[in-house]
Amino acid sequence: MNGPYFLSLLVFSPLLGILLLAFTPKTQERTMKWLGFLSTLPSLILSLFAFFQYLRGYRLEHLAEKRDWIRFADFPFLTESTFVVRYELNIDGLSLVMIVLASLLAALAAIASIHIKKEWKGYFMLFLLLEIGMLGVFAAGNMVLFFIFLEVTLVAMFFLIGKWGGFARERAAYSYLLYNGVGSAILLIVIAVLFARAGTSNMELLKEMLHNPAARAQLIAPIPDGLRLSLFIALLIAFGIKLPIVPFHRWILRVHVQAPPAVVMLHAGVLLKIGAYGLIRFGIGLFPDQFRDFSFLIAILGIVNLLYGAFLAFIQDDFKMVLAYSSVSHMGIVLIGLGALNEAGMQGAIFQTVSHGFISALLFLLVGILYERTNTTELDRLGGLAKAMPLTAGSLLAGAMASLGLPGMSGFVSEFTAFFGLFQTAPIVAAIGTLGIIMTAVYLLRAVLNMTFGASKSGAAQALDMSVTEAVPVFVLLALIIMVGVYPRILAEPLQAAIKMMMNGLGA
């Protein structure tokens, strides 16, 4: 645990799987599926180990790694650490939670990948690459490294969508690449400006330099308020595309519909969360003053997301589209929590990222199982699934219930805490937002009941219920959702320190 390579091992352990896969013959389907799944396990075990050690009081600072990597300038008048990009990994409670989420969902998505029909070799290699990217994003200790890992996920996702997706997969993949490419470009500009002016991209140091008057002297060039404001807005847009915030949400629809369900599990479950994570880490971490000024706007954006997604989900004909808009809607709750600008809101936002990770992964897992059997996810063509596939239908219903915030499941805790936070700062806005709670129930029940209840429709009548392999991830996810819902402290406690620090930054 206290080895200096713990985090590197955690992040790069899927690399072993990629190597092994490279030497596996193309035709050995079973071997490759097993390899793909098994390669996700080391990071899962390591992250769970770290998680429970942390719960028992282990200090995560001991895990930090730091090595010189790229030195941009070597002037005698600059200090040793200026204009150096280090390979540095470190985590706190927040990133630990996200890492556990990512490694867990990766393992489950690997199981769900049994439905992949072709070119398993390339698929699993990219899949594991995607996992490295996701883990790296959350473990990165500086912005450059963060960006590099972010781009790794982008590339891996692009190919995963473009090659293994549905009928319109190329368009979806390009859509994904374009939107996220623009987002990344904006992010890169922000990183470049900060790096050029501060001489470092380490998040901790940056935070110090931006806020501590004593450390401000270390800046290479001053960062005036106007520039800070523009940097913050740029960050908001960059992560707003990833999250997505409403006008930038069109790409996620295509990705949700076209990408293979196992990949969407990771996409909706983890990749969207990078937006939230980035907003918290950089938006609040580096620019708390600007964030405070914008908090009301962010809350409004959250409400817009929530309602807009909900109303649109209400009239979709395809269950995948319903879920896509539901993702938009649920990310609104993250924004609501962040916009609340208090501990409750912050906690709600983080809870929502985790909870939505579980729930959307569960729902897409089920979509994958359904699609495998019925070849459609259109609401009009499905019906009465509860008869032929009671387990699947029941899990679908349970997933919908979790998603609409039924107490005892994780969705409620996050929804409640986020709204609880917003009611403290902006009661009227929050009251409007509660309309979203009703609409969520309306659209989810409409969609799920259409599929599971009613008379059996053709195609669904003879479908077999889920197999044991498929059931395992379903029940693991359900168990996690209920566990967080019943005993939220398991999530709240690791986050406490991180939230407190952020609130200190916000001056609240």
């Binding site: 069109r250 008869k387 039924l406 409409r446 009941l449 009613g454 008379a455």
Partner: protein
């Protein structure tokens, strides 16, 4: 025993999990699991009640979630009200479990049914021992889930699907009110605990407008769950569920949760005259409104459903009139006789295979026991003297009168007349007259079904005597810790009540028993009124045309915004890039000199900029 009260809800929960996992294999044995679980719950609950009678309130809790400095707790509390509700819920639940064994015999999802019942019972028991609003809210929603699952039990029926969806969504609308009210209260008081809230109300920490606002918001939740106007439409539709479910959830327990909630928060309501008045008006209006619809319905369960709505209106009226004791009293008696009526109706449906009362008749001879039990229930609900309904209703009349709600009092009296009339209309149509159900072999239900009905019948008769002006107001004294001062009601009131209910019965007998009055008296004379009543005042249609239409319109609007405006802007950007690209490719004319010129112009520009901005130092 009181510190063990938390264990009461766990038995049904255990039954739920057990049946969910192993129900397929247990088949009929599932019933025994469920029955055993609820019976043990009932025993423990009784012990808790016995303990509470002599003791004082017990409360235990622990931190559930810390949000900053605020600590949210979960736990349990045994107050007089809670202990009382525990017993009622577990008792009715046990009886329904028993009854369902006969009723659901042969259903292929038998064990699932029992699992759901277990879940519901767990949630309901959890609800009544919650010490704070948050926990109440959580169980409140879980109760809704149980109700939803059971209404949709016959999932392959389109009606069941629609009803389940409607039930969930309509109650959710109310829940949002509860949600907001709860959070607002916390922000003012700093705690979800009932005791802290009451303290704040007494201290005046809570400003008067805030009290009114939160009280009314929470009442919205109660309106949703208890099927009060205007959120009542789900409750009659909920009758799509199996009949035992209607008895347990949509008559005796869950729908009473709204009443329970208001009663549990009663000090809050007492502090605001406006909130009380709102509760009273909504209750009174619902009472007569639903009763009038029940007059003309032809589905046996729907009649009972509207009757439930109406009776819940009575309870709300009682609360609004400042008498929580009367409300709880009526809740208790209503739980017994309405459960009885539903079970009896279920017995009839089970035998005849239809719910249409036009197709029934003369069952008195075929099912004497069921008929007799139904009669007891009908007499009790009609408020015939000496049965439980008489006493509890009388208490409500008194409360309304003494609180100065003259109009509401008379409305309640008229509703009482309606109640007697529609109940006996039902009775005479179903059990009297000649047989109309064709050749189907109709026989009495098995003992496993009649036994619970018998118990309920006894309770329907006897429950009234725990709180009467004649023998003593035991319930009231106990619920208020001896501080109950029975208001001296005018003696004419009791007589009026008795006469009104007897009049209703008499009229029903004239119309449907003796047939000296034409049955189509109303439909022929006032077809408009009749149609309005038959179509439930067109409330459903109204919602479909307003709320449904608006929601759809907004969705469509957003759809077009999404499809054309946002996507349009995105396309515009890509089109611009494309245009720029094709312009650029036309510049690609293959002429080396052009390339050179462009390159050089660019260089010159850069050099010039550098030079003229002082780039040479």
């Amino acid at each position: 025993m009181m510190e063990m009260a938390w264990i009461v809800p766990l038995f049904p929960l255990f039954s739920f999990f057990l049946l969910l996992l192993a129900g397929k294999k247990m088949k009929e044995a599932s019933a025994y699991v469920g029955m055993l679980a609820t019976f043990v719950s009932f025993l423990v609950a009784s012990a808790v009640l016995a303990d509470r009678v002599g003791g004082s309130t017990y409360k235990a809790e622990q931190v559930w979630l810390a949000i900053g400095s605020a600590k949210l707790t979960v736990g349990f509390e045994v107050t007089a009200l809670n202990a009382w509700m525990l017993v009622i819920v577990s008792l009715v639940s046990f009886l329904v479990h028993m009854y369902a064994k006969g009723y659901m015999q042969g259903d292929e999802r038998f064990s699932v049914f029992y699992a759901y019942l277990g879940l519901f019972t767990f949630a309901m028991l959890g609800l009544v021992i919650s010490p704070n609003l948050l926990q109440t809210y959580m169980f409140w929603e879980l109760v809704g889930l149980g109700s939803f699952l059971l209404i949709g039990f016959y999932f392959y029926k389109e009606e069941a699907k629609a009803a389940a969806k409607k039930a969930f969504i309509m109650t959710r609308v109310g829940d949002v009110g509860f949600f907001i009210g709860m959070i607002l209260l916390f922000l003012q008081v700093g705690s979800f605990e009932y005791s802290d809230i009451f303290k704040a109300v007494q201290d005046g920490t809570l400003s008067q407008p805030m009290v009114t606002l939160t009280a009314i918001l929470i009442f919205v939740g109660a309106v949703g769950k208890s099927g009060q106007f205007p959120l009542h439409t789900w409750l009659p539709d909920a009758m799509e569920g199996p009949t035992p479910v209607s008895a347990l959830i949509h008559a005796a327990t869950m729908v009473a949760a709204g009443v329970y909630l208001v009663a549990a928060l009663f000090p809050l309501y007492e502090a605001s005259e406006t909130a009380l008045l709102t509760v009273a008006v909504v209750g009174g209006f619902t009472a007569i409104f639903a009763a009038s619809i029940a007059l003309v319905q032809t589905d046996i369960k729907r009649v009972l459903a509207y009757s439930t709505v109406s009776q819940l209106g009575y309870m709300m009226l009682a609360l609004g009139s400042g008498s929580d004791v009367a409300a709880i009293f009526h809740l208790t008696t209503h739980a017994f006789f309405k459960a009885l009526l539903f079970l009896a109706a279920g017995s009839v449906i089970h035998a005849v295979g239809t719910q249409d009362i036009e197709k029934m008749g003369g069952l008195w001879r075929k099912m004497p026991l069921t008929a007799a039990l139904f009669l007891v229930g009908a007499l009790a609900i009609s408020g015939v003297p000496l049965l439980s309904g008489f006493f509890s209703k009388d208490e409500i009349f008194a409360a309304a009168w003494m609180h100065g709600h003259g109009v509401l009092f008379w409305i309640a009296v008229v509703a009482s007349f309606f109640t007697a009339f529609y109940m006996f209309r039902l009775f005479f149509l179903v059990f009297g007259g000649e047989e109309r159900h064709g050749a189907k072999d109709v026989h009495e239900s098995p003992a496993v079904m009649t036994l619970p009905m018998l118990v309920l019948a006894v309770l329907s008769v006897a429950a009234g005597y725990i709180h009467t002006p004649w023998f003593g107001t035991f319930l009231g004294d106990w619920l208020t810790d001896g501080g109950y001062a029975h208001e001296k009601t005018p003696s004419w009131m009791m007589i009026v009540a008795a006469i009104v209910s007897l009049l209703g019965i008499f009229l029903a007998w004239l119309m449907y028993g003796k047939r000296s009055l034409a049955r189509d008296w109303l439909s022929s004379r006032a077809p408009l009124t009749y149609n309005v009543l038959l179509n439930k005042y067109y409330i459903d249609e109204f919602y479909a045309w307003t709320v449904g239409y608006v929601a759809n319109a907004i969705s469509r609007l957003f759809y077009y915004v999404d499809r054309f405006v946002i996507e349009g802007i995105a396309s515009l950007i890509t089109a611009t890039v494309n245009a720029a690209a094709s312009l650029g490719s036309r510049m690609q004319n293959g002429q080396v000199q052009t390339y050179g010129a462009v390159t050089f112009i660019g260089l010159a520009l850069l050099v010039a900029i550098l030079a003229f901005t002082g780039g040479y130092l």
